[in-house]
Amino acid sequence: MIARTIAACLFAAAVIVAAYLALVRQPTIDPITAPEHASFDPALVRHGEKLAALGNCNVCHTAPAGKIFAGGRALITPFGAVYSTNITPDPETGIGAWSETAFRRAMREGVDRAGRQLYPAFPYDHFTLLTDEDDKALYAYLMTREPVRTVTPANDLAFPYNMRLLLAGWQLLFLQRGPYHRDPGQSEQWNRGAYLVEGLAHCSACHTPRNALGAEKTGERFAGGESEGWTAYALNARSPAPVPWDADSLYDYLRNGWQAAHGVARGPMAAVMDNLGSTDDADLRAIATYMAGILGEPTPQRRRQGDAALAKARDADRTSTTGSIDTMGQGPTVPGNDNELGAKLYGSACAGCHESGRPLPFGGLHLALSTPIEGPNARNIINVVLAGIPAAPGGEPSPVMPGFAGAFSDQQLSALLAYLRARFSDKPQWTDIAKEVRDARTGARPVISYPSHGIGAAPADVSERMSPW
């Protein structure tokens, strides 16, 4: 009897597995011989280049110090490490044998040429919105890159996440196929912005929290997420920016990589900014318009707080004190004994740049305007204090902040963070600061730092020197 029950169960399981396999099985698309470069229209390739920049493809598909688009970069997820693939047109290790149909299927359905499901670390849940023309241009661009022969490392995922077939279930649950449906009630510009933001630019991949299966939570769109050890701020009504964003300031930020009332892009957003340098003004305006809609009109109270923060920063510019702890670092009391230490640390190590009155992007942001200090946790400040903002390679002018990893002890850094939060924000103190500091130091929370290059529209005098040598 028991044996028969077990046999029945096994049979039922086998039927379910077989049905699932039949359902999720995707056909292989025949390999092709990579087309001649000359067969692609140069204008189409140029268009594809801009699209690839807007899609930030190079950042994930390039290993540290590796060849561009040759893959091999570890993307750390809660399920383990996914290694990006080689998307150069090498026939064996890249996409050289992929037809345009195969490429389009990967972008829209998350299935590779051989019919295997792709991990959604590749944001096909966004790329599915792309038009035929844009996919065609991206394909033309990638197929005309230098082929690089390189085998990327195998993914390092825990069971059961290492079973690709399960991804078919993920796609069934979470992949909403495109194309983009325009909203006739909105302007052309808004619709263009929505197409770019929700599609190729995949902004919400970082700026939206994810559920237990790694899919974006549809009910909390743009409520803030994370990326590479950094917090990606909320870009909806919960935006922690002291000065509310609007379409103009967003455009300014996206165009130049910094914004006077908000600061300099750093962390993964610095890499995004570097790519946005080639994006047309019209597209950036469209993105800004759409995102301003998501952010919504600020409440009168938020506006007042923003004005107050701006006034504080302006006052500091006028007095432009020079970093003496007698005049700086005088903030509200913090519970415990940390305040005095924090105030002294701020006054002696931070205020010299952050209250110098030297304009952005090369001067330090007045911390009354700091988004991370208003943020949900201390991670971004910890990252920046420890590693600083590295200089751009090749001597290109870029905002730089020195890292203080060797100078601050964990306890000193914790005191400084508590002080910054108490002085510059009305929000309650962060919890578990000490653990966040420790995790960043030990690598329990791996953090990737990027130089903030590609900075545009800097003031003419980039140094404090006003006269020749």
């Binding site: 110090a65 970093g323 003496s324 702890i325 002294k344 640390l345 006054g347 002696s348 190590a349 010299g352 740049c353 600083g388 590295p390 200089a391 730089v400 902040m401 020195p402 890292g403 203080f404 990893a405 060797g406 100078a407 601050f408 002890s409 000193q412």
Partner: protein
């Protein structure tokens, strides 16, 4: 009053606690190896080690350093008995004007002390914050590679005060 340990010697300093370490080293302790370059932590000429890690002394107030071990280029060896890092820089003649060299040596020392088996990419990445305007980068890289070899050999610790 801040108590500071520099190159193994204790000092009691009357300087304001917010004084940058560099000023104390140069003006009070007569340790002139670390240089003032930009004063903004952007050139690396002032690099020293604190507890074995490279630190920019021009932006590090001494109040952060109570009870910690500061090492300057003077702590790597003496004129008569230079340490492996110094021997390597002399052998490769890595200095032209020399202004950046103390900082270069200290950042390289922090790197190699942690792990002398480093790749060229590691050296380049580690020295990235330190600028040289004369253009002796290739010699500096050679010197650091030579120092790495020296530090892997048995006599590596025969000179210098490394902790």
């Amino acid at each position: 009053m801040v108590k500071l340990t520099v190159n193994g010697r204790q000092h009691e300093l009357t300087a304001d606690p917010d004084t940058p370490l560099l000023y104390v080293l140069r003006d009070e302790l007569a340790l002139n190896g670390a240089k003032f370059g930009c004063g903004l932590g952007q050139c690396g000429a002032c690099t020293v080690m604190v507890d074995g890690k490279a630190v920019l002394s021009c932006i590090t107030p001494i109040l952060l350093l109570e009870g910690r071990q500061v090492t300057t280029v003077e702590g790597l060896g003496t004129h008569d008995n230079p340490g492996p890092m110094q021997r390597a820089f002399i052998a490769e003649q890595a200095a032209q004007c020399g202004y950046c060299i103390a900082g270069m040596m200290m950042r390289a020392q922090a790197l190699l002390q942690n792990n002398p088996r480093v790749s060229d990419a590691d050296i380049r990445a580690a020295l990235q914050p330190n600028l040289c305007r004369c253009g002796t980068h290739m010699r500096i890289l050679r010197a650091v590679r030579r120092a790495a070899r020296l530090m892997q050999t048995a006599d590596a610790d025969s000179a210098g005060n490394s902790q």
